[in-house]
Symmetry: D2
Subunit: 213 residues, 4 copies
Amino acid sequence: MSAPRARDVYERREQPLHAERCGLLVVDVQNWVMDEENRQPRPEFYKAARGHVIANIARLIDRARASGVEVIYTVMENFTGDGRDRSLDYKLSNFFIAKGSWDAKVIDEVAPCGDEMVIPKTSSSLFNSTNFEYLVRNIGLDTIIVAGFLTDQCIDHTIRDGADRGFHMICVKDGCATDTHARHEAALNAFKGYCRMETTDSLLAAMERDFGR
Amino acid sequence: MSAPRARDVYERREQPLHAERCGLLVVDVQNWVMDEENRQPRPEFYKAARGHVIANIARLIDRARASGVEVIYTVMENFTGDGRDRSLDYKLSNFFIAKGSWDAKVIDEVAPCGDEMVIPKTSSSLFNSTNFEYLVRNIGLDTIIVAGFLTDQCIDHTIRDGADRGFHMICVKDGCATDTHARHEAALNAFKGYCRMETTDSLLAAMERDFGR
Amino acid sequence: MSAPRARDVYERREQPLHAERCGLLVVDVQNWVMDEENRQPRPEFYKAARGHVIANIARLIDRARASGVEVIYTVMENFTGDGRDRSLDYKLSNFFIAKGSWDAKVIDEVAPCGDEMVIPKTSSSLFNSTNFEYLVRNIGLDTIIVAGFLTDQCIDHTIRDGADRGFHMICVKDGCATDTHARHEAALNAFKGYCRMETTDSLLAAMERDFGR
Amino acid sequence: MSAPRARDVYERREQPLHAERCGLLVVDVQNWVMDEENRQPRPEFYKAARGHVIANIARLIDRARASGVEVIYTVMENFTGDGRDRSLDYKLSNFFIAKGSWDAKVIDEVAPCGDEMVIPKTSSSLFNSTNFEYLVRNIGLDTIIVAGFLTDQCIDHTIRDGADRGFHMICVKDGCATDTHARHEAALNAFKGYCRMETTDSLLAAMERDFGR
């Protein structure tokens, strides 16, 4: 009895994509993160974000909407006025993004529309602090494409948690950024074992191929 | 209403330690991981593990036992004979550590004793796949010291999940190792914001100072 | 080692109340439930609800607000326009309470105010489907007082889940109602072992006694 | 956008059974519960249990094993020697079923065999306190048949939690019992809305019909 069931043996991590079972999760692409004036200096981040990352996310959102892929946003945002609901970690880190504030809003370039869900969180991985898993299981998703900020913080953590919890996770490596390019690369190298790694172009090509069938 | 409650404001992440509220979590220090013959080549890992990491973990376990700190182990191990209970990620990664096997056992140098808990898992972070959080909340722990393998895989992930879920997390940086020293350092740099970073010596000194009060 | 730790032995389920660690959870006291025209006929329910239950909940809310007890509401309400986020059980049961609708609103008599949380759900117990446990742990609550509708459905289930998850649960037996008085009594009898049972009067007296200290 | 998706509309709660997606969960059918000498007097319970309930569970287990339906057991049992891991509710209720004891064992009449899972718990619903949901999702189950003890305690609670969490729940009403017949009937009436209700005979007939296809 020490051999696995046939159905538990996979040839490869890459599986064909099905639009109705895919979600595109856009993480923390919000005004607070893009506020170069008031955040810590991190020129490499803003260069990457404004140079190609946000544009790539916008392309993915367009394709997702056109194909019936669920687009989901999460943002750092308190649920209470005084932020008493924040995680211990956010309290220890002195993170406080006021409920309903401009800081908490998704940036205009990739704004949600229609019936898309925006899920506030006060944690690193929304799997730990919100009912995200519950929502996407109810909707019928088994594959989560992740893009946004920061590669070595919320993106890394979300990829790992999703993998542990039974989702096929896909990281869009040029749809993410963090403080420096070196940190970005180190993070991709650290968590690549938990997911399928794609570029925006390769993922759009895979959608073209798989959704068309 | 946009100011936090006084009780939610912390001066620093470091808080005094209380023995009865601390757990020492020893992650994946098991025969399978230490099996240099049958695993991938990674000389830097075995050098660090055999050179200082295991010895440091043993010192921490001794101090924990002497002080009433809960010592908890987790190991990669199937719960069923054919491993059908494994996470999707373990199936995709072709990880299969047989139930009750020598591979699944904690290595002799840091073996559990008495009434200590050993929690099998088939995932990266035991928070996602076991009732660890439930157990430690019932026991009354709020601080988790993490040591073991691998720094940029299960250690990183466990630190982040624990932080998100409201625990004071402490990483013993010379009580961990991974495939290369460069990966080890990059991981510590990536997740340092989620925890208190200590060396074995500095943590033992903190225990000496705080438990003595 | 087969005797419990001294700290795990309790003389009684009733423990002194601390205002800052108590939450008052008001369950499903919303227009949809009180809509006698459009729901199934259940005269005993409306008689109890309008006769004393809503008035009792209002009294408890007043006392809670005056004492700094956290008042929390949950309502049945979709998170998406088409309700695709609903639990399988709500889909099977054909429950559909539109997002942002009048049906989903707390009734005026016990309306939320200020910075109080209102948590939408599409399930029986909000512990299963929302981040309620996360929120209340972050806030620092360990005792949950439950009132609302229906005694043998969401109230029963919420009491049991909270008990399992480590909270001191208190049921306000004259702050709840269900379709018939017989069902109400049978439910109280079934789940009384999971909680402390109080009337509105006895609970207000306990608050008076314990909070005054 | 206030109409549900077509795929979210169900004609009926009863769905065709698929053997490889069904689990039979046997709850608390253990020596401690059947120990008439040392437990509280409850003649109606022992009469039902010994008269038909255990025999019905045995019939279902036989059929499940013959068809490849996963048979899973849960028992009340401490995970630590001194029971410090028990839920607050078990501590408040003074429940203490020693790890590895005769009390914790499934009774011989319906004993587990082969690679079947036995999951210890110290709570009412194993969904709250164990990794049961994780295990069965990994195995690929979406339908859980529940039998065992007590109808108005762990059975009721497990049915409700499973329903909330997206499983098709089936209660075997003559495969359960509780202290009195009146309590048994009241509980079935209270939670019937969360599940498909079957007798042993009707469920065996459904298996015969659906598995044969």
